[in-house]
């Protein structure tokens, strides 16, 4: 499998989905750990350079951007306070170090961050510049030596940037060495076997479900939650049965053990109450992920989703943003009856201030959930219970800790030229099956996976319709005022002359979902050959 290399000429060119703004925890526990313990990184996002062989302004290579630069460099300089010389000057440490602890896991490795300033040599003396380097190394407390930290590994990760006016360069407190807690407790079963590889369960999980890199949607969501919680200590989960029960659908399995009950909070059965609590926490600086056991239960909390979450950034004129994610299974399952089977994409999709996402494959689930958690706005993340167990092939870049899928862009799952089929969530699978059946009849269908209900990727839909001239929308929800209706209106408004035939909407039946299996099947779209009697 090809290693994806996003580094060219020393500069980083990431695909649109990546948001490479790693937190310190992510730098240490995702990128640097893997490099140190020779665990292959899924994608090359960070080049290897000896940062002291060049001057800081030369390190940017061809790229002009003012972004922070990240490099893997060797770690020898981390041990002592010596100055590191470059062609035109010298990097001097400003003396303080900061310890970065993985507040989540009980893993002994610890990150150490040093700050350095670049001084340029000018005739007789050296002058401080605005170039700053943060150098991260990994260390292990040695129990025999009184838990003194000893650096390990060959690599350090360096972040180099030019200090701008308002940016704060932290005056790291050397006292942070004596920081929190307890002797490092770790679970020997995780650690002993893997100590040679040294990496915690996260990296293993990313690879464990794979043979040739397939991943179930459940694992995708679990790994995304795990990595986001590990990368940012402000992210926490809240919902019914997310903790000790390991998740009503086992999505949050293992997270309670890793992050503790303060960060994986089991709530009483109080949707309105705990959703409001999540919103209040988001107002005040945390990043909650609120799970609804199914989105049907979100109706008890819909006041908070719409009125206190979606509208607040507007009502407060930008003072209070709400970086919250509401996630859970949406739509029909199998035989669960009318009150557990409704699809809420259309309801939430009509509300300004919300972002509404509906993943289909494992790559969608991982990328969209990471994008949602990192997003500063309220996001409704509509999963599907029947997709949880399905396996999808995943590309290498999907496994990277910074992988995000951009919100608002649809994906063309299958290119075609005769008709466009637009769907989201489980219906994408059905559409692909239908496309295969149509192919046998000589019809080449293009299938678009919306991924994002709000904002809707109108551009992609219109571009496709202009190519194929026919449109079919597929959804599980009720037909009136549904997502298909909006798509149809959009296409009629923007691409009317391109349509050769009226838009066809395929939606669920306009009835509350029945229980009996045969009529339940009739209540939702199915993919089958045209002559199949229902």
């Amino acid at each position: 499998m090809d290693k994806l290399n996003f580094v060219r000429d020393g500069g980083r060119k990431l695909p649109p989905g990546f948001r490479f703004e790693p937190t310190e925890e992510e730098i240490v526990f995702q990128y640097l750990s893997r490099k140190t313990f020779s665990h292959p990184l899924p994608a090359l996002v960070i080049p290897e350079i000896d940062v002291f062989s060049m001057d800081p302004w030369q390190l940017a290579g061809d790229s002009d951007s003012e972004e922070d630069m990240y490099f893997f460099s060797n770690a020898h300089g981390c041990d002592n306070e010596s100055e590191r010389v470059t062609p035109s000057g010298v990097w001097k440490a400003n003396g303080s170090s900061k310890k970065i602890i993985n507040s989540s896991k009980r893993m002994p490795i610890v990150g150490i961050k040093k700050s350095l300033v670049f001084y340029m040599r000018s005739s007789t003396k050296i002058v401080a510049t605005n170039w700053i380097m943060h150098q991260y190394c990994i260390a292990l407390p040695q129990q025999e030596q009184n838990n003194c930290l000893v650096r390990i590994g060959e690599w350090s990760l360096c972040r180099i940037f030019m200090k701008k006016g308002g940016r704060q360069v932290e005056d790291d407190d050397a006292n942070s060495y004596s920081a929190s807690s307890s002797s490092p407790n770790y679970d020997p079963t995780i650690f002993n076997e893997n100590f040679e590889q040294g990496i915690g369960a996260v990296a293993l999980r990313a690879y464990s479900s794979s043979s040739a890199n397939k991943m179930t949607v459940r694992d995708a969501i679990n790994s995304a939650l795990d990595e986001e919680m590990s990368a940012d200590p402000k992210v926490f989960m809240m919902g019914e049965e997310v903790g000790e029960y390991q998740g009503a659908y086992k999505i949050t399995k293992g997270l309670l053990d890793k992050y503790g009950p303060q960060r994986v909070v089991d709530t009483p059965i109080t949707e309105a109450g705990f959703t409001g609590i999540g919103v209040g926490a988001a107002y005040h600086g945390l990043r909650p992920v609120v799970e609804f056991m199914t989105f049907n239960f979100s109706m008890q909390a819909i006041d908070h989703i719409i009125n206190s979450a979606a509208k607040s950034n507007y009502m407060s004129a930008g003072q209070i943003s709400v970086p919250i994610v509401f996630r859970g299974p949406n739509g029909a399952a199998s035989g669960v009856g009318a009150q557990h089977s409704q699809c809420y994409a259309a309801w939430f999709g009509s509300c300004p201030g919300l972002k509404v996402l509906a993943p289909y494959s494992a790559e969608d689930a991982r990328g969209l959930l990471k994008a949602a958690i990192r997003d500063p706005d309220p996001v409704v993340f509509l999963e599907n219970e029947l997709l949880y167990g399905e396996s999808f092939p995943v590309s290498a870049e999907t496994l990277d800790s910074s992988f995000c899928v951009p919100i608002g862009k649809a994906k063309i799952e299958r290119e075609g030229k005769d008709v466009t089929i637009v769907a989201y969530s489980k219906m994408v699978g059905f559409s692909l099956q239908a496309a295969d059946i149509l192919a046998k009849e000589g019809i080449n269908a293009e299938v678009i996976n919306l991924r994002s209900i709000r904002p809707l990727d109108r551009a992609a839909i219109n571009a496709s319709v202009r190519k194929t001239n026919r449109l079919v929308t597929v959804e599980e929800g009720f037909p009136q005022h549904g997502v298909g209706a909006e798509i149809c209106a959009t296409v009629v408004e923007d691409s009317f002359e391109y349509l050769d035939a009226p838009v066809q909407r395929i939606a669920g039946a306009d009835v509350p979902t029945p229980y009996a299996a045969n009529i339940e099947r009739m209540a939702f779209p199915q993919a089958c050959a045209s002559s199949f009697p229902l």
Binding site: Q262, I277, Y314, S316, A317
Partner: protein, 432 residues
């Protein structure tokens, strides 16, 4: 004088005359009413009702007793004044600011400069001042639609609040929120909610954050949150859900009930099976305290105890402040259902006049100083009206601003780029 006001609640609604008689027979409302009987004297024993009735009723929560006993001790000695002169003047100024501001709002509304729903706080200033003046800037306040005075007490400048009410761009929410949605990140006013009961979980969430910061992020954080809401809200499900979770997780929050006996036109006694709201606290495992909300000093004492509890990490408290609003529910409410005798009775217990009296009697301030404060506040209010008048209305492009913190949420335009990057979009001339 005290005897005349005996059993004022009976007069409260001529319609429910029969009801009020039956109410008298219950042990609940009787002691409730007698609280006002005692509450009239500022210097006398504490805000809770006669110790006898309270003790028997409060068997359920030991901590309620503890709070009340403490208060009995502290206020029994006259020589031990409850406030210093500076504190007294601060309290006076804050209440006058609240009152003058709300009166000006009424004037402006009738002149057509303010519109929509405006809910005034006249008469309830003691609760806001008594509680909020004890907070630090980092502490949070969450309120309902009757939130102008909460915002002012917390420190939001009067100019910004007035501009917001006029719908000008210099308002605290740039004119986008309005009377019912006062937000201020700087002063930690987390809203201003139109739905009653909506603010309570949000406040509980802010308290949750405070505890999370302390225990998970290991920051030095002892922020407390106050949730203000009314008597009608106490019948709402979210209230009970949050009492449960706050007590379960020992969150640093104080639930302050501003019981003004009326929810628009619905009397508290007609809508509640057990009108004594403070009792609902012990049912969930937290102390429930009842205090005379027309007396700022008593409110302040109780507040000190409750906020102290929360700061020390001992958990939430439910404080029921018995208060009254002098005006109708909103400026559009003709206020016909309330008995004029009831209104008159409470008018005699105006918190501002009570505080004035206390200051004079204890030689903490003289007429001149208070008049100076009155004048100062008048000038502030005049200035804020002028400022709001002269401020510009929002520009066209403001319609689409602030919907998202990340404006890429408006999606991708026909040219394949994010729509927020299109200059016409930000100028407000693009099609949405």
């Amino acid at each position: 004088m005290a005897k005349i006001i005996h059993n004022p609640l009976v007069l409260s609604s001529s319609r429910s005359a029969e009801k009020s008689e039956s109410c008298c027979k219950l042990s609940g409302p009787t002691s409730f009413m007698s609280s006002k009987f005692l509450g009239n004297k500022l210097l006398s024993t504490n805000s809770a009702t006669s110790p006898a009735t309270r003790r028997s009723a409060a068997v359920v929560a030991v901590s309620s007793d503890v709070v009340k006993e403490k208060k009995l001790k502290s206020s029994s000695s006259l020589a031990n004044l409850l406030i210093t002169k500076e504190e007294g003047l601060v309290l006076y100024e804050d209440m006058i600011l609240g009152r003058a501001f709300e009166d000006m709002c009424a004037q402006m509304y009738y002149r057509g400069k303010m519109f929509g729903f405006v809910h005034l706080y006249n008469g309830q200033e003691a609760v806001s001042t008594g509680f909020i003046k004890l907070l630090k800037q980092e502490d949070c306040v969450v309120s309902t639609y009757r939130d102008h005075v909460h915002a002012l007490s917390k420190g939001v400048p009067a100019r910004q609040v007035m501009s917001e009410l006029f719908g000008k761009t210099t308002g605290c929410c740039r004119g986008q929120g309005g009377s019912m949605h006062m937000f201020s990140k700087e002063h930690n006013v987390l809203g201003g909610f139109a739905f009653i009961g909506e603010g309570i979980p949000v406040a509980t969430g802010a308290a949750f954050t405070s505890k999370y910061k302390r225990e998970v992020l290991k920051e030095d954080c002892d922020e407390v949150t106050l949730a203000f809401f009314g008597d009608g809200t106490c019948n709402n499900g979210q209230f009970f859900e949050c009492l449960n979770m706050a007590a379960l997780w020992k969150l640093p929050i104080v639930f302050v009930v501003e019981n003004n006996l009326w929810a628009i036109g619905m009397s508290h006694l007609r809508s509640t099976s057990d009108p004594q709201i403070w009792k609902k606290g012990p049912a969930f495992g937290m102390p429930g305290v009842h205090v005379d909300g027309m007396d700022v000093l008593k409110v302040r004492e109780v507040a000190q105890e409750a906020i102290g509890r929360a700061r020390r990490g001992e958990g939430p408290t439910l404080v029921e402040c018995e208060t009254y609003r002098f005006r109708g529910h909103s400026l559009a409410d003709p206020d016909e259902l309330r008995d004029p005798a009831e209104k008159a009775h409470y008018a005699t217990r105006d918190p501002i006049t009570s505080l004035k009296k206390y200051l004079f009697e204890n030689n903490l301030a003289n007429e001149a100083e208070l008049k100076a404060i009155d004048k100062k506040i008048d000038e502030i209010i005049e200035d804020s009206v002028e400022f709001a008048d002269e401020s510009p209305v929002p520009a066209r492009n403001q319609l689409l601003e602030n919907v998202f913190a990340d404006p890429r949420g408006f999606g991708i335009g026909p040219d394949g780029k994010y729509r927020c990057e299109d200059p016409k979009f930000t100028q407000g001339t693009a099609q949405v």
